[in-house]
């Protein structure tokens, strides 16, 4: 890798041993991908994936402390993934004990570290930092040092920013030195598609199921999806963006997709069209039967597969304001149809603190509350990641949550029916 004089001086330790190690990390990371150079980060803000003060992650907090002690911090402020705890979310005595006294004992300590490292503000905890209500929305062409797979794939695909699927810690280290290695999704060539996915379904495919199927098929490659604009339109409006947010999160968690192109919709596909597809690209055709096959193959790991659900999470990644309103309408209508007043399964809708703040001021908030639904800024994944939840029958419309926990995936319609007393 060819470094500038300034970069080489940092690596040589002229600005201290700790900063030299940070630069060494970024250089070695780039060399693993034959990166020829480092390029400046151009986004206004960074986004970090590590939001949780898990006791077991002590090595991470030790490392952050080394950075703080050496005064090695970034000038770039950042948002971070959602908090793992929220008293609003139903939990029994034992769960609360395990969460607060055993698992997340480092939460306060770590949040203090985050503030010192450059956290935007106390509301900057969400995986959907790019929502207007949060304000960390990069521009097309911006170079990022983000982590959080669902945010990275959204920034690349929907916003046209440029970011590799960086890991936690690498995210902040890039920001500290101000540079990221030039490889992969930062390059024009790395953004070309090696898969053509043809969507031949007879109805609008479920975002999180379609994303799962594509993620599992293409893994870390870039897919060019043809036929989806028929169902979600050719304009990046609220509805299409929310769809792509959920679709992308599933491609990234069920596989390792960092960028997708949707023909006729996403910015690079609109500009460059099928020029983005490399010669010899493989093809994957998705029809109704293929989606059904994928869904049927998800393992059911509940102790009693026919158990009555005890909790439902909707919003991984976090919901948009429009999605919160839409769920409110659908829950209200379905309860009415089924002759019920409140949801029959404890249900949590999750969204960013700033989004919830706006939602609370709308006419929808009291309706949702009256239906017995809880809203929260929590990370459902962090809530579920413990052995107590493994025994708990939790349902979700998130394919990301299904992938990492024992939560069982259902389509939005199935979830709606299950929580409003209809037939599953």
């Amino acid at each position: 890798m060819i470094l500038t004089k300034e970069q080489q001086a940092i690596l040589d330790g002229e600005r201290g041993e700790t900063l030299a190690k940070v630069m060494k990390t970024i250089v070695m990371y780039g060399e693993a991908f034959e990166a020829e150079k480092l390029v400046p980060i151009t986004s206004e803000y960074n986004h970090l994936v590590t939001s949780f003060g898990l006791k077991v992650m002590s090595p991470v907090y030790d490392l952050m402390q080394k950075l703080l002690d050496a005064g090695v911090v970034s000038g770039q402020k950042f948002s971070v993934d959602p908090r793992p705890l929220d008293k609003n979310v139903p939990a029994n005595f034992l769960q609360n004990f395990v969460f607060n006294k055993f698992m997340y004992t480092k939460q306060d300590f770590y949040e203090e570290q985050l503030r010192k490292l450059g956290l935007l503000d106390d509301k900057a905890f969400s995986c959907t930092c790019y929502m207007d209500e949060l304000g960390n929305k990069p521009k097309r062409g911006d170079v990022l040092s983000w982590a959080e797979s669902s945010a990275v794939v959204y920034a690349n695909s929907v916003l046209g920013a440029r970011c590799n699927r960086n890991s936690g810690i690498i995210d902040i280290m890039g920001s500290i030195v101000g540079y990221v290695p030039y490889f992969g999704l930062l390059t024009d060539e790395g953004r070309r598609a090696s898969w053509v996915v043809r969507v031949n379904t007879t109805k609008k495919p479920e975002a999180q199921l379609l994303g799962s199927a594509i993620g599992m098929k293409v893994m870390e490659d870039v897919p060019y999806v043809i036929g989806l604009d028929k169902w979600i339109g050719s304009e990046l409006n609220d509805s299409a963006c929310a769809y792509l947010k959920d679709f992308g999160a599933a491609t990234a968690s069920n596989g390792a997709v960092g960028l997708y192109h949707i023909a006729g919709l996403t910015p690079e596909a609109v500009e460059l069209g099928e020029e983005l597809i490399i010669e010899g690209a493989r093809e994957y055709v998705i029809d109704d039967a293929e989606l059904e096959r994928v869904k049927k193959n998800y393992p059911v790991i509940w102790k009693k597969p026919d158990a009555k659900p005890k909790l439902c999470f909707i919003g991984c990644p976090h919901l948009s304001l429009e999605q919160l309103k839409d769920w409110t309408n659908r829950i209200e209508a379905s309860l009415s149809k089924n002759g019920k007043k409140k949801v029959t399964v404890p249900t949590v809708l999750t969204a960013a603190p700033g989004v919830l703040e706006v939602f609370e001021k709308t006419e929808y908030a009291p309706k949702l509350k009256a239906a017995g639904v809880v809203t929260s800024y929590i990370c459902p994944l962090m809530y579920m990641n413990n052995p107590l939840c493994k025994k708990m029958p939790v349902i979700t419309s998130s394919n990301k949550l299904r992938t990492y926990t024992s939560a069982r995936y259902y389509t939005d319609e199935e979830i709606l029916s299950a929580i409003t007393g209809g037939e599953k």
Binding site: K21, K24, T25, M28, Y29, A32, F33, V49, T50, L54, V56, M57, S58, P59, V60, D62, L63, M103, A147, E148, S149, V152, N164, R165, N166, S167, G168, I169, I170, D171, G184, M219, E220, S253, G255, A256, P299, I301, N385, N386, P387, T403, Y404, S406
Partner: protein
């Protein structure tokens, strides 16, 4: 015995028993529960990986195509190394992915006293040939012997 030559991401020499996955290794799903709740054998917790689920990863030669999933993957791997709960080595048939590379580099630069050789580009034939329980020897130049 068969030998394969790969590219050294982080150097080292080790001999260990193989555990093999032919699908992507989801680092968070595989390791988090084991690390969080002190599983001494570090059994793989990824329910979506039938080849590895429930198998011990500690001190094993983990043979894989790539890692997948959450971008916490690299820091989970870093923590596993810092806590000495890591595989003995990681051997990739293809090019290493960005999350695994981050974990390997973070462990190499920031963890003292732990060596986890990471070799990539060993080829599809490597992953077709190697099976659970085979003896793996990793040399400093990236040569991997399988017997």
């Amino acid at each position: 015995m068969k030998q394969f030559k790969g590219r050294v991401i982080t150097p080292g020499e080790v001999t260990a028993e193989a555990v093999v996955t032919t699908q992507g290794f989801n680092t968070l799903a595989s390791l988090q529960m084991a690390l969080q709740f002190g599983d001494k054998e570090v059994k793989c917790g990824d329910q979506n990986n039938a080849e590895l689920h429930g198998k011990s990863l500690l001190g094993k030669a983990l043979c894989l195509p790539q890692t997948i999933g959450s971008t916490t993957g690299g820091l989970v791997l870093y923590c596993a190394c810092a806590m000495e709960k890591n595989p003995a080595c990681m051997l990739f048939s293809g090019h290493i992915d960005s999350l695994a590379a981050a974990g390997a580099v973070l462990a190499d630069v920031w963890v003292d006293g732990v060596t986890m050789p990471v070799i990539d580009s060993l080829g599809d034939e490597f992953l077709n040939y190697v099976k659970d329980g085979m003896k793996i020897t990793v040399s400093a130049d990236g040569t991997v012997s399988v017997e």
